[in-house]
Symmetry: C3
Subunit: 304 residues, 3 copies
């Protein structure tokens, strides 16, 4: 966490139109950390979940001086006595995220680390960070991407804007497809396709995304993939899909928008997972999943 001392005026400025109103005397009040409930101190920026029935009490009792609340929490006499500041916002948790991401997250300065190996043919957008020991081949990377350390991005990979590729990820390596020769020995089916990644995508640490065999492996905008996943050749993954850690997606599936794939599950190849469907933790999916359904188990079945 970046160590910063933030005035309430600063918070209001960053939150902009999120803010509805403010109660209390904000002068000389500052915050210098975010924390979970067990570690809230007087200088934590705290927040109260609007769905809690005891939200008034929570706002009253927190040690924090500055609290993000909705417009139903009242500013009381005791809050005043204690010098509290209530910032009423439309969505307290979102507001907390905005403050955290803007003021407390350490950001990499754009630029390419001297130890990275970058092809002169790579097309790299403005504001991109490329970390130590990366290998960037003849690919296209959009604006404001964060490519962490030890990442390898191969030829024919296209990545959109605002993407995060975490340490050790391997994007665009050859897929796992083999034929047998006349002696029965396996040799590689040519893996000469490409990878197309949209905007605002995250690829987790040590995750592998293989290129298409003869076509394209696609990952849509805002899709988030966690650590240690395997995305095989020719998958077509939609927008706002969440793929949790250690998920294994074999080749050629279609995963539609807003699908949620829980940790450690695996998908057989050439399936369709319909929009908004959920794949449960550890599910072993061997059939198509219709839109909106939840499937769990080994083999995975619809959850009733």
């Amino acid at each position: 966490m970046k160590i910063v001392r933030v005035k309430v005026s600063n918070i209001l400025e960053v939150l902009g139109s999120q803010v509805i109103s403010i109660d209390g005397n904000a002068e000389n009040v500052y915050i210098d950390n975010l924390a979970d409930v067990a570690n809230v101190s007087v200088t934590t920026l705290d927040w109260v979940n609007p769905s809690k029935t005891d939200k008034q009490m929570l706002a009253e009792n927190t040690k924090a001086k500055v609290v993000l609340v909705d417009d139903k929490v009242n500013y009381t006499e005791s809050m005043k006595t204690n010098g509290k500041v209530l910032i009423h916002v439309r969505e307290p948790k979102i507001a907390l995220c905005i403050i955290g991401n803007t003021l407390f997250v350490q950001k990499r300065r754009p630029g390419t680390h001297s130890s990275a190996t970058v092809s002169p043919n790579a097309k790299i957008g403005k504001g991109v960070f490329i970390g130590p020991h990366c290998v960037i081949e003849n690919c296209i990377i959009g604006k404001n991407c964060m490519i962490d350390s030890n990442v390898h991005i191969y030829d024919d990979v296209t990545i959109g804007d605002n993407c995060v590729i975490k340490s050790g990820a391997v994007i665009g390596s050859e897929g796992f497809g083999f034929e047998r020769d006349e002696n029965g020995n396996r040799f590689r089916f040519p893996q000469i396709g490409n990878v197309l990644i949209g905007n605002n995508v995250e690829i987790g640490a040590n995750t592998c995304v293989d290129r298409g065999a003869l076509s394209t492996t696609t990952i849509g905008d805002y899709t988030k993939i966690n650590n240690l996943c395997h995305i095989a050749h020719n998958n077509v993954i939609g927008k706002n899909v969440v793929i949790a850690a250690e998920v294994n997606v074999a080749g050629g599936n279609v995963i539609e928008d807003n699908v949620w794939i829980a940790p450690s599950s695996s998908l057989r190849g050439y399936l369709t997972i319909g929009k908004e469907a959920t794949v449960g933790m550890g599910a072993v999916v061997v059939k198509n999943i219709p839109a909106g359904e939840i499937w769990v188990g080994n083999p995975a079945k619809k959850l009733h």
Copy 2:
């Protein structure tokens, strides 16, 4: 994909004895890509699966000018009118692979990248590529191997000819074996064995192969291991075994020739998986599997 313009005469040369005969006027006809069925263009090298009952029609209807077919597909008047060229071959898909692998796959030029760290004691064969940021210790690597980026190969590892070790793979690190001292705290059982990898083996990206504890972890010729697998100490893996992505092979198993291990499955240690057996996707294997059987589920049982 390498961008190349290939004449039919070139194709025939590369295919050699695969070719049975050729129909049509090949002059001025060229191909410049391979593609899946949805993306075939006039300059795609297309192929028709000999087992299809409508193969004559498929050869007739493809947009491609040059088509790999078996000897049962006939050259028709309309093909002639359209300027098509049929190349009759023994195995159309194999022929396609040969063309792809020979003419369209980007090959690394042999040599060691300047950023790799290579022990002066390593014995490295001719035609080997060692990629950026690799760590190559006192090991033996055969001819024509492709060691991609960020790979670590430890002391006492022997790798045969024509192997591919993909990015981030870790070959020969210490296995996971512990004893408890008199206070009950765990400390390492010495892991001082080695790793022996045959010819034409592939090890996937970010896959880990541990050295034997006191003996040898062995991987046989033509065995192909996909990304993110864990191969623990003392495994003895035969020839032409396929291990799909995210498979976990605990210590000391014997996996015989031609076994197929599907994605995300796990094998308890000290088992024997008999020749030609199949381990299903996500299977949790806690018993020996007899030769030729298919086992699936958690815990894995024979599929009837």
Copy 3:
């Protein structure tokens, strides 16, 4: 394995108080390897398991000249004739480990490899090895740690003494937590917590340990984590816990001391796994596990 020729006097010196007594003429006798039972030679240091009923016969029959045994194995006339040396010790297997770890394991010399990228703000203890292509940010690393190649340790990570972090491990990267903005698009919940790792901990190759979101991801003393595991944000893992390969621990769990987690299992977030509990191979854990219980299956249930 380090090639060394070790005299019996040397062995006795290293074992110290483990030794009860010695039989046979140790002059001119040496060992130069450890081996599994199939590969024992005349110069192997062999050992006999005290719990075996035929231990006298095993000690008699081994090809090895020098044998670690308990105090119940007798030195016989034929042993004398064969020039054998029996070293009676309290725990033969522990004694073997001590010899292996002291004399046969190749140790890295302390120091930082020239290709590593180390923050000037990092606090690194004495006797630490930092391998090639590591990225060490503003963190604290205790004494005598072994940080293997291609490891990335982020800001705000604290690692105790005598830890081993294996190749490709990623310690302290941002966790996987997202909110949706008003358009329904996901964006990151700030991940600004830290990681606290105790003494004598091992983290496997290509394993990922995420920092806390707003608090701390904790790993206790003597805990051993194998390759390719995912330890998400905010986990609190106790002492002497064993986490086998490819295990997926989602966010916010409490894993108490001496828990054993078998390979390829996964834990849903925000669970408590009680002291000494065992999670079976491939188990998909979605409920709390009481202390001492064994749970297996998908979903995991108590084993009866």
